[in-house]
Symmetry: C2
Subunit: 413 residues, 2 copies
Amino acid sequence: MALIVQKYGGTSVGTVERINAVADKVAGFRDKGDDLVVVVSAMSGETNRLTALAEEIMEFPTPREMDVLLSTGEQVTIALLTMALEQRGCRARSFTGGQVRVLTDNTHTKARIREIDSTRIHEQLQQGNVVVVAGFQGVSEEGHITTLGRGGSDTTAVALAAALKADECQIYTDVKGVYTTDPRVVAAARLLTSITFEEMLELASLGAKVLQIRAVEFAGKYKVPLRVLSSFEEGPGTLISLEEDTDMETPAIAGIAFERDEAKLTVAGVPDVPGIAYEVIGPVSEAGIEVDVIVQNAAADGTNDITFTVKRSEGERAKTIIDAVATKLKAASVVLDKKVGKVSLVGVGMRSHAGIAAKMFKVLADESINIQLITTSEIRISIVIEEKYLELAVRALHSAFDLDDPDYEKQSS
Amino acid sequence: MALIVQKYGGTSVGTVERINAVADKVAGFRDKGDDLVVVVSAMSGETNRLTALAEEIMEFPTPREMDVLLSTGEQVTIALLTMALEQRGCRARSFTGGQVRVLTDNTHTKARIREIDSTRIHEQLQQGNVVVVAGFQGVSEEGHITTLGRGGSDTTAVALAAALKADECQIYTDVKGVYTTDPRVVAAARLLTSITFEEMLELASLGAKVLQIRAVEFAGKYKVPLRVLSSFEEGPGTLISLEEDTDMETPAIAGIAFERDEAKLTVAGVPDVPGIAYEVIGPVSEAGIEVDVIVQNAAADGTNDITFTVKRSEGERAKTIIDAVATKLKAASVVLDKKVGKVSLVGVGMRSHAGIAAKMFKVLADESINIQLITTSEIRISIVIEEKYLELAVRALHSAFDLDDPDYEKQSS
C-alpha cells in the first residue's frame, strides 16, 4: 500500500464534468488500496475572473487582500471534488492550505513554504479518508492567508509529498509527460519514461513548460519521486528521478529544448577590464529585462565583445539602454539582431560521452546552419542561430542523437 | 469615539459599483473618528451559483463540504471591500470567520456561535484599521469551516457587537428600516424610529422580513443596540432597543404583520383527553411541515376541535396526514380551507392599554370581516380570516390604531 500525492491543475478540474472524471480516477486508485492526498488548483478561468474583479476596484490590488481573494478559487475546487468523491462512496475530506498548516513566509502573492504540519493529514489517512488539499495557498506565522504565486499548486503537491514522505508525487496535466522535444515541432518526439532532476531543470528553464521549475527544485532537494502524467489519457507518464538510470546504457541526450522569439545584442570593442560585464549587463537587469545567454570573448588587442540575448519583445528597450552604456564606454558598436533562436541539448549522459558538442556542430554544418553563439554547462550545450533555421536544427539534431520515436514511422504509415 | 459594527447584505455588495458605494460610506464613518468592524455577505447571486455547482455533483451535497464551498462567497467580498477601502486611503484588513475565531458548534450548514475571540479584532482596531469580517461563517473546535445558515451574516454582526461590546450594531439592507406594516400594502405605512426587541421578534416571526429572527434574539439576549437602515438612502433607520420608550406615551400598537398563503385544517370531534393535541400535531411536524397557529377548543360534550394553519403549499400534504390520524382517532371530520390569511397586531403597549382586542374585533366587524381564529400572546393578537379580506383588514386596522403616517396625505397630494 503506497502513499501517493496527486496534483490536478486548473484545466483538469475546469468543469463539473472534469471534476467528476478526476473523482473517477482518484476513486479508482483508492480502490486499489493506496492512501491518497489530492492537491487541486482553481477551476480554469476562476483566477482570471477574480483578478478582473480586483482590478476593477484598484489598479494594483493590495497583495494581502489579493491572497484572501484568490485563495477562494482552490477552496471551491476542494469542496466540489470532495463531494464528487463522496458521491462515489469514496470517503474524503477537504482542507485549505491554512487548515493543514502549509506554513509560509509573509511575502503575499509569492510566499515560500517554510514547513508543513503533517499530523492532521496522517490522522485523516488513518481514518481511511482521501485528503483533498487546496494548492497554491498557505498561512503565515501570524495567521494571514498567503499564496505561492505561479505554479504554486505543483509546489504544494511536492511539499506535501516531502512532508508526508510519500512514495510518489504525481502531477496530472494536459500532456502525457515529458517529451524529447516539443511534439508540435518534431512529430517523431518521444515520450520519456524517465528523466533526472538535473535534466528536467535544464529542460524546464529552457522552455519545456510541463512543470514549474520551483516544484522540480523542491522535489530534487527533498528527494521526492515526481511523475508527470495526463489527466485525460491513460499512461505511465514520465518519472523524474534522483538517480541516473544505471540498468541500461544512459543515452547521451535526454532532450532538446528550444526558444523562439529571442533578440541578440552585441557590444563590440569595449575595454577588457574587470567589471566590464557588470557595466554592460547591470543596467539591463535593473530595468527589469530578463537576460538569457551571455557570452564574452576577449580579443588579443585588449578589447572585448559582449553578446547577450533577451526576449524579442524587450529587444528595442534593451538596445536603448545599451546605446547609452556604449557611449559611456566608448564602445566600437552596438548591434541588435531581432531574429535569433536558441537550441539546447540536455543530458546527464554528456558527462561520460565525449564528442557531443563536436557532433552537434557537425550536424548543423551539414545543414549549412551558422552558429552565432555557443554556451555550455555540465549537462547542456546551447547554441544561438538565425531563427528561420530553428525548426530544421531541432529536427536534424533530434534524429542525429537517436531521439526519434522508433514507433513513429509505424504510427504514421 | 464610538465602536460600531456594520453589516452589509448581499444586495448591498452585489456588484463592484455597490462595493465601492459601501466603501465610500464606511470611509466616511471612519473619517468621523469611529472604530469600525464591517461584516459582509456574499455578493448576491454567488451563493446560488456555488449551490448550483454542488448540486450538479450530488443531489444532497455533504454538509461539511457545502460549508467549505459556500464560505468562499463572503471571503471574496471581504477582500474586494478591503481593497476598495485601501484604494480610498482608509486602512483596512479582511478576516474570515475562522481567522477571528468565530467559534461554533459542529452542525454544518446551520452552526450556532459559541464564542468569539475578540483579541485579534481589538488589536487591529488599535492599529487604526477598519476590520472587515466575513459573515455567515465560523470554525468548529476541531478547525472545520462551518456556516450559520440563513441570515447568518446578521447573526455574525450581532455576535461580534456583543463580543466587542460595541456601541451599536447597524444592519444595512435594502429598506429604510422597520415599518408599521408592509408599505406595498398600506401606502400610509410609517417608518418606526424605534421598536423594542420583543416587538421586533413578534413582527419578524410574523412576516416583516427585515431582520433574521435569530439575530434579533441574539441582540436581545446580549443587550446589543441594533439599528436597521438602508444601504442606498440616507436616514436614521429604526433602532431596536431594550427599553420601551418611556419619554413619550407608548403607542398601543407598534406594527401590524400579516401572512398570506396560509391553509387551515380543522379536525372536529376528537376525544377531549390528555395528549390529543400531540397526537394530531405530532405527525404533521414529523413530516417536516411547519405548523403556525394552533387553536384547541374543548366542547362541553367531551369532544374537542383542533384547528391549525400551515403554509398553503403544504396544505394538501398535511391533510393526507391528518386524514389518517382522524381515522385512527375516530374524529367526526377533517376540513381543509386553503384560502386564509393571518393578521397580527403587535405592541408592548398592549400590556397597559386595555381593550385593544375589543377594538380590533370592532374594526373588523365594521368591515363585515368574519374572524375564524383568534390567538394571543402578551404583546400580540393574531386573527385568521378569509384571505380575500386580508388587505382590507390590514388597512382598516392600520388607520384605526393611528399608525398612518401623518405626512402621508401631504406626500401624496
